[in-house]
Symmetry: C2
Subunit: 492 residues, 2 copies
């Protein structure tokens, strides 16, 4: 089983694809740039989505649903936004097909069904939502409006990769409206904290919080905050963004409210999103050459039990004991599968569940029953132990917590070891090539310099970390004065 | 508040729109035929979706996600299917906009971004999914494949109505693959039973299960089973369908499996779906001229408590007692809101929560505290009672069950009183015009007759009920011999 997986050393990119495809997370589709999220991958997404959804609701947000289509004229209303999205969008121009008179059995666009105004399949929903908010907001009493949407979006990417960059992807987009700039900024930062909490404490992936430079800002935002994670190949991955939109969209869509002071004011906005891209980050953060390694708190399946037996008599005894163990595990809300399928041998099953990243595997044999022991293997370290069956559920519960903790610690140690302060351009290029990771360096604050560094090295400024220490220095590239270091990396 | 609602008698259709809009369920959007599902409506949908999802999982199904776009050539592969959907679909023809050189600030379709093959925004996913199943199914060991998808779909309807018929809607679509026709039929019927169970026991809406005539069959199906509900205006509403697709799609997409007997066989298919249309059915089934009436089991909010007080001192005492009651209700998993907002008077609040269909409203005043009583009003019958605060949570729990039961009984009594056996054409037209509801009548089994009846009366055959008694008779319209009665109605 595991030998089908390309090793990281051989070809990191192929290793990733192997994990996604053979681990049962997703599949290519016949539709250009779109993927199929397979049941195992979707179960993982459901766990992630449900937890994020709980966190959004706990912070006072409600869900709603807005139309898939954005009229062309809406996109035009916010100039920066239009520039950012017009070049990569699916455009609906007609609403009917008809039989092709020249080719029997084929269909063609019915030219008589041409739309007066084209519809864009939403790449994001600011425009549609702010056009709606105009009707929903009249007075300060209608604020804040704290709404989230779970939806599919489409961005016409030229080069796609499963989960990391696909034409269609699933995401959530929060869109909030506030009476003051201060309140909107607080919301922007609060949701960044929610993302950090989720990604670190559920996905076991430590992140760096920061703010984007103008080059990397969301089209239409005043400020884009982000969480940046580090992958095992030393590349960074943006795991979530939270935007302070200022009054850009309220002005574009004329959304005003009557203040307590009885004045008409434009509304302040935020938006924030995470997507199925997080699954790509999860895969690359923890997995190894045997397959996926999933954090117990979001794994679709936490424990698998494989019986090892000869003959029906042994099997019956093992079945009975397994049923007891399973019921104890379930009582502790641990998800567990008993795989007594007869079409594969235990060794094959072990490899299969390793590939799928199931955190804990247990093997139960006839001899174990006599000694009242069960073999427990943890996926993260591959350690195996014989454990007493008495109190096994409590043991497994603690083990799952330990695995979760080990994963985040391991990822944090890796991340921390890959933030390299660098003070000259030669070293910058050398670290980037030989070690990778984040490079902490001075920058002169201009887009020109950032562009040139990107051109020469592919590295971009991932973020200016929040609470960044202020320190005098010289830009790594231009030599001009700088007040603080920023984090560079090559990114997904 | 309630006087804003048009009464059913005045204008049933406007009454429905008033409830949806003013009850906070949905809003029109600027995008043709698309609606915005507002937070209260979406919370209702979440409750319905989550329960259906549990029922799908309990019957062995898993979720997955397939692409939004259907290549034109996929649609062409199953002829009946293509005919059914080609005339009402959103067609993506280009993937880029560019600045319009003639109109400053405007965008236009970039003609250089024309797609070689058009993409249809999915009206349903049989084609995309069966094209994928070809790669997933090799042997009988891969079967059955029991997959569901929650998704948005688009059908370009010319006349739309909130929830009932919108260009975009949310739904679930199950797509299963089986080794034998028998097994696929069992699945088709099983999911029909799941729908019946959900609609009757959660939405409190009794349905009639049946099979569609050829005229009303899903495009591409061998048999379409359905559940049909009756609305208060005597019109029927199809609340869910489950299709036996035979081998139509496996043949169109060449999906074969190696049988136990080592032979290559085409796979057998089902598909089944319910949508946000169910919300329309829910609104029309139970509501009254004061507003929505929601069944407790799916209501976003089950109980509201309104304090009635003069001065801060009274309020403090009431707040304290309310907090106790709320904590008792929450311990019984009852959702509750305490509305002590100061911008509206109690009477206004009462009307507002009536409009929103909250099943139980409680009013807590200073005098009530002294007598240890609380006023409890049920939304369905509008009865009010003074109830002892001791044990109030248990009382409310039972009351919610009673309301749920009352709603389904009321709807069933109405439905049963509106199934009218009719034996001649004059009576048919008379009952249809004067009473409405289902008409049980003989039919000669031909599409021609069905078409003519529809033309004259707008009534269609809603279904041939399952387990229909066999009985000799004459077709109501043509006078030709018939073996069983079928159910006619004018439908949404």
């Amino acid at each position: 089983m595991s030998k089908e997986i390309t090793s990281r050393e051989t070809d990191y990119s192929q290793w990733y694809n192997d994990l996604v495809l053979k681990g049962g997370l997703a599949d290519y589709s016949a539709v250009r740039g779109c993927m199929v999220i397979k049941p195992y991958g979707f179960a993982l997404w459901e766990n992630m989505r449900d937890q994020l959804d709980r966190m959004f609701k706990e912070t006072g947000h409600v869900n709603a649903y807005f139309p898939l289509f954005v009229p062309r004229s809406f996109l035009e209303k916010e100039e920066g936004h239009a520039e950012g999205f017009a070049k990569e969008c699916a455009v609906v121009t007609h609403y009917r097909l008809k039989a092709n008179p020249d080719k029997k059995g084929e269909l063609m666009v019915d030219p008589e069904s041409k739309l007066e105004e084209e519809l864009i399949v939403r790449p994001t929903s600011e425009t549609v939502i702010w056009n709606t908010y105009r009707d929903w907001i009249q007075s300060y009493r209608d604020l804040p409006l704290l709404i989230n949407q779970w939806a599919n979006v489409v961005r016409w990417e030229m080069r796609t990769r499963l989960f990391l960059r696909t034409t269609e992807f699933l995401w959530q987009e929060g869109h909030t409206a506030h009476a003051t700039a201060e309140e909107a900024v607080v919301e922007t930062r609060k949701m960044l904290d929610v993302y950090e909490d989720f990604v670190e404490n559920w996905m076991a992936l430590p992140v760096i919080k920061g703010v984007k430079t103008a080059n990397e800002r969301f089209a239409g935002a005043v400020d884009t905050y982000c969480i940046e994670a580090l992958m095992q190949d030393g590349k960074a991955l943006q795991a979530g963004t939270s935007h302070f939109l200022g009054q850009n969209f309220s002005k574009a869509f004329d959304v005003k409210y009557l203040s307590r002071e009885n004045k008409q004011e434009y509304v302040w906005a935020t938006s924030w999103g995470t997507s199925t891209r997080l699954i790509g980050a999860l895969v690359m953060a923890h997995s190894d050459d045997e397959g996926l390694v999933l954090p117990p708190k979001i794994a679709p399946l936490q424990v698998v039990i494989v019986p090892i037996f000869k003959g029906e008599e042994q099997k019956a005894l093992i079945d009975q004991k397994a049923a007891e163990i399973i019921s104890e595990l379930k009582a502790l809300h641990i998800s567990v599968k008993y795989d007594d399928s007869d079409n594969n041998r235990p060794g094959w099953k072990f490899a299969a569940y390793e590939l799928k990243g199931v955190p804990v595997r247990m093997a139960l044999g006839a001899r174990d029953l006599q000694s009242n022991l069960i073999e427990v293997a943890r996926r993260d370290t591959k350690e195996k132990l014989s454990v007493s069956i008495d109190g096994i559920a409590g043991y497994v519960k603690q083990l799952l917590d330990e695995i979760q903790e080990n994963l985040v610690n391991r990822a944090r140690a890796y991340r921390d070891a890959h933030i390299t302060p660098v003070d000259n351009w030669e070293e910058f290029k050398q670290v980037l090539n030989e070690k990778g990771g984040f490079i902490s360096a001075h920058w002169d604050g201009t887009s020109e310099t950032e562009d040139k560094i990107k051109e020469e090295t592919k590295a971009t400024i991932r973020c200016i970390p929040l609470d960044n220490p202020q320190e005098e220095g010289l830009c790594i590239f231009s030599g001009k004065p700088s007040r603080e270091r920023v984090l560079f990396a090559v990114a997904y």
